[in-house]
Every structure is written in C-alpha cells, then in structure tokens.
C-alpha cells in the first residue's frame, strides 16, 4: 500500500494531510462501534430494513475499502480551489452509506454543507458526523445534518434559498420538484437511479467457472438487497433454452438459497411487499416464477423490456440468442444501466456510437468505493463548483 499520492498528482498540502488523517480516524472509530455490541447497527437496520448481520458485513466491507490514497486522489481530481460554498445535498434513502459518502465529499471539498437525510438512512451519517465533530469542533459551523421530512416548508425554503449548489439524488420526480423549488442562482446537480444488470454466456465458461460466477451474482444480489446501483436486478443469459434451464436450476437450488445464510435478508417494508406481490403475478404472465425462502427468480425466454426487479431479492433471468437482442433490451429502459459480466472485454454487442453502459465484474460489487453503489457521477467537483 502506498502512502503517498501518485506522482502525477500535485503535492499534498499539510492541511489536506491533517484532514485525511482525521477522517480516517473518525472512520476507524465508527468501525469499532460497528464491530462491537454498540446498538448502532441495530438502529441502522431498523430504519433501513436491512438485516443487521448483512448490514454489519457490508459496512465493514465499505469502511475497509476507504484508503488514504483514494482520499488524496479525490482531493487531487477536484480542480477547483476549496472554498466555503454553501451546498445542499439531498442524500438518497436507499442505503445508509451513501449519505456518509456525501458527507465525506462535502468535507473534502471544504464547503458549507447542509446534508439532508432520508428517514431511511440517518444513523450512519449522524454517527460519522459525531466522530468528526469530536475531532474537528469547528466543523459544526460548516456542517449541518437535517432530516428533510422533518423540516417545515419554511425551513426547506430557507435552506434551498441560501444554497449555491444543490446536489440531489433521486428519481425524475424528485429532481423536478427540487428544480422547481431551488432558487434561480443555485446550480442543480442531479443524480438519478441506476439499474445493474448481469450478463453471462455459459458456453464460454467451464462448469466450475459458471458456479463461481453464479455464486458471485447471488452475492451481488444479496449485498445491499438490490438497493444500490451495482446490485443486479437482471441476469441476461446468452444461449439455448437448455443452458437457461441449467442456470435457472443452479440459481434456484444452490446459489440463491445459499446466500441467505451468509447475507440474510431484512424485513420487507409494505411497498416492497406489494410490489413483489404484483410483480410475481405480472411475471407469471410473462414467463416462469420460482420463489424460495426469501428470494425469487423470474424467467423470461423472450422479453421485450428489461423490467427492474421489485427488490426483495427478486432476480430476473432473461434469455437471448443474439447480441443484438441484448442491445435492444438494454435500450428498453430509461434508467442508466451498469452491465456486470464475467469478462466484460468479451462483451461488445452494442452500437459503438450509442450510449454505452458502464461495465463491472460479476461478484465484485464491493470495489471500488465511492462509485460502486451509485451512478458513478458522484464527484468532488460537484461540491466545489
């Protein structure tokens, strides 16, 4: 592990060194709480509906990946000078770590930051803030955490009107609403949802490789329960009906059930339950449905549209024969797609002139940090202006 930034980056200022050191200390303290019997993880599980065992594992995995080099690298990639620009971030509510990443980015950017949290992800960011303020008392002058839903309209208006930049994570509805509410002088930086889909051609894999790939896929599905943009909703399988049947059987009888013991699923919230109920009925009209203990696999042999899953560890298995069919399916959704494959270099079915999906490796959802769970456009520049 190198302790210094790459040579082509500018030299590190002493202030940056201190900031990174303090941040890492705060994250270490947070990790100790997560690994201990501290009630933090249970509190986070209650508000996020993620299972505490899976949550603890994924949080430790996340914290493990935050390294000094990466933080220096983030600082170096932001071209604009650090200045106390007033920034409002409306953090997403799907995963606890995203708000904390937003907090870290604001801190590195040196902005006057109001971080508005979703009710489903407050605890981790608040715990990190506490650790940071204990080490940098002056931080409380330029960092404010609020829960958006708990604010009155007047309070929301006040926060919006004083913000020079508004970073918002959300659906088109959310972004539109904020765009209408934000003052004309504010720069809006929207981040939309993303859809991860996996791709596999069993003919290119040995039986052992196929098994490893499917185990990795099951882990990616289970980690964060499909609420992150890299947690796959669909497996596109190139090949015959027989190959599709083979993969279906392996997923239903081996890999999806096995992951339940390693990364148990949390309770379903009411919208998720209803969406799963409706989705299973719809999927029956379109193909086959195989439900096991806390997972579900839907199978379509001739799909026209790539439907996102309703969460709850619902994975879609969609078969296709020719790469052009996959290209059509990827273009059937308006949500930006991340493609996850066993060896992406072999994958080139799309029109080279058209929008290309981002490609990741199957079974490696955990890497790299700061862009693995969202749309990959989450950058320090956005906070610095």
């Amino acid at each position: 592990m190198t302790l210094e930034p790459p040579e082509n980056n500018p030299p590190i200022k002493s202030g940056d060194r201190a900031l990174v050191r303090t941040l890492l200390e705060a994250l270490s303290a947070l990790r100790r709480r997560i690994e201990s019997d501290d009630p933090l993880v249970l509190d986070l599980a209650c508000e996020s509906f993620l299972h505490p065992v899976s949550l603890r594992l994924s949080l430790c995995d996340w914290l493990e990946t935050i390294k000094k080099e990466q933080l220096y690298s983030l600082l170096a990639t932001a071209r604009a000078p650090r200045r106390p620009l007033p920034v409002l971030t409306l953090a997403p509510g799907n995963l606890p770590i995203l708000a904390s990443e937003c907090l870290i980015l604001g801190l590195l950017a040196g902005v006057r930051h109001t971080l508005a949290l979703s009710t489903r992800a407050t605890g981790l960011a608040k715990a990190l803030e506490k650790e940071l303020v204990a080490r940098i008392p002056s931080l409380s002058d330029r960092l404010e955490l609020v829960v958006w839903r708990h604010l009155t309209n007047d309070q929301r208006h006040r926060i919006l009107s004083r913000s020079a930049r508004v970073v918002v994570y959300g659906t088109a509805d959310t972004v539109d609403w904020i765009a209408r509410q934000a003052p004309p002088h504010a720069v809006l930086v929207p981040h939309g949802p993303g859809l991860a889909v996996a791709y596999l051609d069993p003919a290119l894999l040995t039986p052992d490789e196929l098994s490893v790939a499917l185990a990795g896929l099951a882990r990616d599905v289970a980690l964060y329960d499909q609420r992150g943009c890299r947690s796959p909703h669909i497996l596109f399988l190139q090949g015959s009906d027989q190959q599709l049947d083979q993969v279906r059987d392996l997923l239903v009888s081996v890999h999806l059930p096995a992951i339940q013991s390693a990364l148990p699923r949390g309770p379903s919230y009411v919208e998720e339950t209803s969406a799963m109920f409706l989705d299973r009925l719809t999927s029956r009209s379109l193909g086959e449905v195989y439900c096991g203990d806390r997972f579900c696999l839907t199978v379509e042999r001739s799909a026209r549209i790539a439907r996102p899953s309703p969460l709850g560890r619902t994975l879609r298995l969609i078969g296709f024969r020719h790469p052009s069919e996959l290209a059509g399916l990827l273009q059937s959704t308006t949500i930006p797609v991340t493609l996850i494959g066993t060896f992406p270099e072999a994958f080139s079915p799309l029109d080279p002139g058209g929008p290309q999906p981002e490609i990741s490796l199957l079974g490696q959802l955990g890497m790299p940090v700061f862009n693995r769970l969202h749309d990959g456009r989450h950058r320090l520049d956005e906070y610095r202006g």
């Binding site: 604010l151 959310t174 859809l195 991860a196 947690s231 919208e271 209803s274 109920f277 009209s285 799909a303």
Partner: protein, 354 residues
C-alpha cells in the same frame, strides 16, 4: 373457438343491455359467466399459463393478469392477425412502456360503459346537458376515456353536449359559453371532467350557477402530476363555484371495460357484471371485507383480454360489491440513488426541526 368468442360476446352484450331491468345478478349467474369466459380465455390466449382450476369454486381462484402485464405483453384472446377495431393505451412516461388494451369488437365496450352509466348515474340524476372536460375522441383516439365520453355524448346527449377541451387543453371561452348556456337553459347539467382538467377549471377562477340537479363527475388521479392536484379539494372548490352541484367520481382504467361510480363520499358501486376482490399482498390471500387490500376486478366485459385484472390500487371492499378507494400502492423504493418523491414532498405530522 373464435366463433365461440363471438357468440359469447353477443350473448354477454345482450345480458348487459337487459341489466337495466334486472340490475342485480345473483352469484351463481355471475359465477357461471366467469367460469365460461375464463376457460375460453385460457384456450385462446397462449400467455395464460395458469390454468383455470377444474373445480373452480370461487372468484379468487380465477387466474389474473396485472395492469402492468398490459405494458409488457399482448393480452388478447384473439389472434394477432385479426384486425383491431380499437387500441386503447394506458398512460405512461414513454410510448415504449404504455400498455395496450386491444379490441376487435367495440360493441361490448359500448354496451358495458353505457349500461353502467345509465344504471349507476342516470338512474339517480337526469342531467339534460353534458359539459365535457375530457379530450374529444378525435383528439385522443387512443384514450379509452375519450372514447367512452364520446359515446355518452352521442347516445345520451345527442344535441346537448359541449366539449370544452381540445388539443391545446381547456378552452376557457368555450367553457364560459357552455356554463352560460346551461345557466340560461335552466336544465340540470353533467360536468364530466378529468381531475387535471377540473384543476385547470379551478385555475380559471370561473363561477356559474348550474341549475339544481346538476352533477360534477370527475375521474382519474393526477398521474405524472403528483403533489400538485388534490381531487377532493378540486371537487370542493368547483362545487362552491358552480352553484353547489352534486359531486361524484368515476373509477375506470384502460385495462377495464366497465366502470364504477360514486356520489359524494359514498362507496363506489360496480355494475352487476363486474365484481371486486381485495388481496393482502403479504399473504397473497383475499382480505376480508373492510380491510384494505390490493383491488382485483372480475370484469366480464373484458372477454377480449382478461376478466380478472389485478390493480395496484388499495381499497376496502364490502359484501354488496361496493368499495372505497384508499390510495395507490407506491412502487417499491427505486433502486440506487433514490430519495423517493413521496418522502421528498411529504412532511411528518409532527413537522419539526431536527
């Protein structure tokens, strides 16, 4: 089989037309129809993978199709080679994801919609003039609502209809003229409007004194315009501004050829060839009457698609086949980077600073 489908359509049209004189269908009559139609549909639609149980004993057992399925597959009991007489599209953000309800015969829609309107609305109020705030059929040929209101106008109000909306939306001058005409004539009027058009009418600030016995009937939520329109509030304001007409609501959707109606705060009433069930999404079993569940309609008029339609609407049913609408089930939390719109715009009851 196709001939059987035609025969069944003829027979059902006849029975529906006769419902005016016999508005209550006994359970066994309805059940017998549902059994016949669903078995035929299972034969005719290759997508209907779930078989109808040989010993069908309750409506809950009928294989159902969700409203979403219309977006992803051709839900039709007639071959794709057969000419389509009507292609009604559901609302949607992109044409790609809009569901289609295909009909090769529209007579069943004509007779079901008209019979329900007469049975559930005109039997209680007798307006002599229609003011329509629904886009005309020529302007929206793929809207089932426009088609239906067009039929009402032609058949029930042949020389007394004012459509005050066109391609560009509400025509304020046309609306003013229609309201003045209704006031002068002194005969009860029916104002039939989508919720969004009713909101547009509120925005005009226009007032009128509609004659006693008039009715304001609104329909549809405000899809794509969430947060901006409150249907109850719109009804209240218009009732105040139009001289106190009775308010009412129509409940319908592209995927259903029959409609429910209600007056004021009453429950929705269905025509006798349509029934409603509520399902608990957690257990997947029917919810008891009075407990909210996801509404599933058994609409016999849907012979050409699927008679059992599962919706995402939450409601309470009653033993007399009426129902209250509780709301629409929001989809599961969107994946990745999503602060849901609902969470964004709503405030907790105890709004407070953190």
């Amino acid at each position: 089989m196709e001939r059987e489908l035609d025969n069944l359509l003829d027979e059902l049209c006849q029975e529906i037309r006769e419902s005016g004189s016999a508005p209550v269908w006994p359970d066994d009559r309805f059940f017998s129809w549902a059994d016949r139609i669903s078995r035929l549909q299972a034969h005719l639609d290759p997508l209907r993978r779930e078989p109808v149980p040989a010993d069908l004993v309750s409506l809950e057992q009928l294989p159902c199709v969700t409203t979403d399925a219309f977006r992803y597959a051709r839900i039709a009991t007639f071959p794709a080679s057969k000419a389509v007489a009507a292609r009604f599209l559901t609302s949607g953000t992109t044409a790609l994801h809009r569901g289609a309800h295909l009909l090769y015969r529209t007579d069943i829609y004509d007779c079901a919609a008209l019979a329900a309107f007469k049975l559930l609305v005109l039997s209680r109020r007798q307006p002599a003039r229609l003011i329509s705030l629904v886009p005309p059929h020529q302007a929206a040929p793929e809207s089932s609502l426009s088609y239906m209101v067009d039929r009402f106008a032609r058949i029930c109000f042949p020389r007394s209809t004012d459509c005050v909306i066109d391609h560009d939306g509400l025509r304020v001058d046309w609306l003013a003229s229609a309201l003045t005409k209704a006031e002068k004539e002194g005969v009860p009027a029916l104002v039939f409007s989508t919720t969004l058009a009713a909101q547009a009418m509120v925005d005009t600030g226009m007032t009128a004194q509609l004659p006693p016995g008039s009715l304001l009937m609104t329909t549809g939520g405000a899809k794509g315009h969430r947060g901006s329109v409150n249907p109850d509030e719109v009804d209240r304001i218009l009732q105040e501004r139009l001289g106190g007409p009775q308010t009412g609501s129509e409940y319908g959707m592209t995927e259903l050829l029959s409609q429910a109606y209600r007056f004021g705060g009453e429950p929705y009433q269905l025509p006798p060839w349509c029934r409603v069930l509520a399902f608990d999404p957690t257990s997947g079993r029917p919810s008891p009457h009075g407990k909210p569940g996801l509404l599933r309609f058994i609409d016999l008029a849907n012979i050409q698609s699927a008679i059992a339609i599962q919706t995402a609407d939450l409601g309470n049913t009653a033993s007399d086949q009426s129902f209250f609408l509780v709301g629409r089930m929001a989809g599961a939390q969107a994946r990745g980077c999503s602060l849901t719109y609902e969470e964004l715009v709503k405030q907790t009851d105890d709004s407070r600073a953190p």
